[in-house]
Amino acid sequence: MSDPYSLELESESIEIIREVAATAAKPVMLYSIGKDSSVMLRLAQKAFFPGRIPFPLMHIDTGWKFSEMIAFRDRTAKEIGVALITYTNARGAAEGINPITHGSAYYTDVMKTEALRQALDFYGFDVALGGARRDEEKSRAKERIFSFRAPGHRWEPKAQRPELWNLYNTRINPGETIRVFPLSNWTEADIWGYIREGNIPIVPLYFAARRPVVKRFEQWIMVDDDRLPLEPGEKPQMLMVRFRTLGCYPLSAAVESTATTLDEIVSETLGATTSERQGRIIDHDGAGSMERKKQEGYF
């Protein structure tokens, strides 16, 4: 690897992932299909090479992912040869909970937070690896790499375990779980640099292309299929856009861009004047919204 800092980040993450494999009773890696998940997946492949990844991936499927994301997910799991669990909150799906009529806050609570808690309980996973980074958001910046969760998946930000050196306390009592964030110390620019260096496959939506979008609240929302009801007089227009961050549509907004290669994305990221989470609509549900969601069990 040409960049020593990249190698340092990679080594730290691999150490964290191996520590999970060495100590957890039943670990799982949460896979969100985004660029961070792609990097985490590559790190797990490296951590266990020449063996295969010794735990399954799990995708919490809200039913509102871009169709390109689902196709990419299935292709990736097959190519790598890793077990993939997809889980959808059956209650929420039956009630037709969706981001358009129920609002982003309620939808996220049910289809993401509640679904994740259900899935972890159902399979009995004691440790879940996730791709969150400390530079994403202020409450994430405060979280430990091995983040202890009380029974009921609650995060107590005021009572985190001390975490000294690279010594991770993985001991838990029954009912308690740990969320582990191997990418804690990576920044958005580090992620893109690493993807470029390792030629890591990512969802094509990250690259600029002409896509149908409508403008809402000063943000470009992509019309992925006919489930997005158009307002009266609203007409999709074709625009060169890409996504800096991918969640559920229509909760992820696109940015205007001409970056069609990894080199162009990296230079665009280094020159960015807004943060990537600007395109994440759930972060704007009110001050401290991410911290509240995390306390309730969201990643």
């Binding site: 951590a47 001390p162 001050a287």
Partner: protein, 617 residues
């Protein structure tokens, strides 16, 4: 471009978060949407009137924003054309010292803040001691709020002199004192020639961009703790870990500790193509020549410099729990990838944070620092912390709560384990028991005061004696008056009391006796420690389960009444906890049951265990 990991620390309200926020702002590293959020937040929470409150950029938890304090470490990432930075902004409150220590443990340099109006405080000293103890050698002393002392050079010089005098006893290589105003941005990024024309040293950013990082790991011999053994495919066996120091290449001779087995590197596996060489800091998988054995917690090192192993050490300890450290209590330690049981055997001294004086201590409280001796329950490959941090640092975990309660740094091994060998005895434990026509046992009674332990124990001994068995009773009265008369009833003394009783019982079991121990022994951890001294079948825990109300009603010795009146401190059940056994071998619920039938039950169980038929070996 290299990377500097540093922390900001210092006392409450010295302006750490504001300083960091200002640094990010002045280096133009705040995104537009974050700045917009800051403008909104500043109106809502700000203590700075109409101005931007930079602390809100880093204080990310709601409780922090509402109280205007920092509770936990925030990690921020920024870069300038010269360097990349990972900064840990740590809390100033004494209560959150463990979070500050978390931040310091991975930092290479420290920015220590001082409020120009307040000077060097106790918390300044506490943080300085922890920073020094954790091996950070380069410190910037940022004398903040210079705007509030009119940029006075005299104030600055006084603080500089006072701090350097204090720091003489610490291990800092360089101390750089910088007068700043985080609020006004003076000497943070740009030299301020108007407010403090007398200052010609570096600005804080200039210091951060130029401070040395000691990358000594590369010149040391090769060492890698085994974190995980890769056997994921049948024809592959590799040892995974992160290289702690030195470098390695195929063909190098290595030795594994603690086994001492020698081998050589066959291949360095990372991904797809094998690597020709790997160096300190890299996560790799090593394939060794010939089929040698090693497991998680072992250490692979250059054959010319194998890693030592020992089980007793003198260490520096930072205690991080509200529950005091109890010498003699069994805890779990994690050192590199090795988990082991650990007890503190002796507190040599506790450090006075202010004066550095060595104070006598029998326990340690939250945030206290001490020099102690520890004993691990097995051999541990190690290096002194100052030589190799990755092999000399460990954490202490409470067995019941699983909380991380302490952080230890190894100074050196106490050579006792090596020098003191057990006398190889030809007469064995089994032989001694056999001549008595019995098997040796430790029957450990636990229960509240007045629950009936002594009554049942005495009756049991009579019955065993009548059957021709060789017995002895250890109870509070015959032990506390002699062997343990130096011990009181504090939590620490009770732990030591039980430890000694356990050791005596062990010697008696070794002599082939059936030992009956009747102690309240209220804490699970100590009973567990006692149990661990014996072979599995030798130890029988008997829980004399009598409800507190019943014990208090009986109150044979009048102790409960005294305790209720407050004349007796630390009385189990009243103002000190009793932790009932979770799975005792024998559980006697005594309400409405006579002592005789309790004894019957114990005898039946011993007969089932063949205690009466003589030794099996």
């Amino acid at each position: 471009m290299d990377t500097l990991r540093f922390l900001t620390c210092g006392s409450v309200d010295d302006g750490k978060s504001t300083l960091l926020g200002r640094l990010l702002y002045d280096t133009k590293l705040i995104f537009e949407d974050q700045l917009e959020a800051l403008r909104v937040d500043s109106k809502k929470f700000s203590t700075q009137g109409h101005r931007l409150d930079f602390a809100l950029l880093v204080d990310g938890l709601q409780a922090e924003r509402e109280q205007g304090i920092t509770i936990d470490v925030a990690y921020r990432f920024f870069r300038t054309p010269k360097r990349r930075f990972i900064v840990a902004d740590s809390p100033g409150h004494e209560q959150y010292t463990r979070n500050m220590a978390t931040a310091a443990s991975t930092a290479q340099a420290a920015v220590l803040l001082i409020d120009a109006r307040k000077g060097v405080l106790t918390q300044t000293k506490r943080h300085s001691r922890i920073v020094s103890m954790l091996g950070i050698h380069h410190v910037a002393l940022a004398v903040n709020k210079m705007d509030l002392v009119a940029g006075s050079q005299l104030v600055f010089d006084e603080i500089d002199v006072a701090y350097r005098r204090f720091a003489e006893e610490l291990d800092f290589k360089t101390i750089t004192t910088i007068p700043v105003s985080a609020l006004e941005g003076h000497n943070i990024v740009e030299q301020d020639s108007v407010a403090m024309p007398w200052y010609h040293g570096p600005t804080l950013l200039q210091w951060l961009e130029s401070v040395r990082t000691d990358a000594s790991g590369l010149v040391l011999p090769f060492v890698m703790p085994v974190q995980w053994v890769n056997r994921l495919s049948s024809d592959f066996r590799g040892f995974s870990g992160r290289i702690a120091s030195g470098s390695v290449k195929p063909g190098d001779n290595v030795r594994i500790s603690p086994s001492g087995v020698a081998s050589a590197i066959k291949e360095i596996v990372v991904w797809k193509a094998p690597k020709p060489e790997a160096t300190a800091g890299e996560s790799v998988t090593l394939v060794l020549e010939n089929d040698v054995d090693a497991s998680r917690g072992d250490v692979i090192a250059a054959a010319s410099c194998p890693v030592q192993s020992a089980d007793q050490f003198e260490v520096d300890l930072l205690w991080m729990s509200e529950h005091p450290l109890l010498p003699g209590r069994a805890y779990v330690a994690l050192i590199h990838a090795k988990a082991a049981g650990v007890t503190v055997t002796d507190i040599k001294y506790r450090l006075d944070i202010n004066t550095g004086a060595h104070l006598a201590a029998t326990t340690l409280g939250l945030n206290e620092i001490a020099r102690v001796n520890v004993s691990f329950d097995r051999l541990v490959p190690f290096a002194p912390y100052r030589d190799n941090g990755r092999l000399g640092a460990f954490i202490i975990i409470d067995k019941l709560t699983n909380q991380t309660v302490g952080a230890g740094l190894i100074h050196f091994a106490l050579r006792r384990a090596v020098n003191l060998h057990w006398q190889a005895l030809t007469v064995t434990k089994g032989g001694r028991a056999e001549i008595k026509h019995q098997q040796a046992r430790c029957l450990w009674f636990t229960g509240l005061s007045g629950s009936g332990k002594s009554t049942i124990a005495n009756l049991l001994e009579k019955r065993l004696h009548a059957e021709g068995k060789h017995t002895y009773i250890l109870d509070g009265d015959n032990v506390r008056h002699g062997l343990n008369r130096d011990l009181g009833f504090t939590e620490a003394d009770r732990v030591e009391n039980i430890r000694r009783v356990g050791e005596v019982a062990k010697l008696m079991v070794d002599a082939g006796l059936i030992v009956i121990v009747a102690f309240i022994s209220p804490f699970r951890a100590e009973r567990q420690l006692a149990r661990s001294l014996f072979d599995v079948e030798e130890f029988t825990e008997i829980f004399v389960d009598t409800p507190l109300e019943e014990c208090e009603r009986r109150d044979v010795k009048g102790l409960y009444a005294k305790a209720r009146r407050g004349e007796l401190k630390n009385f189990t059940g009243i103002d000190s906890d009793y932790e009932p056994p979770q799975s005792p071998e024998i559980h006697l619920r005594t309400l409405g049951v006579s002592p005789e039938s309790c004894v019957d039950r114990i005898i039946r169980s011993l007969k089932l265990d063949s205690v009466f038929v003589g030794a099996r070996n």
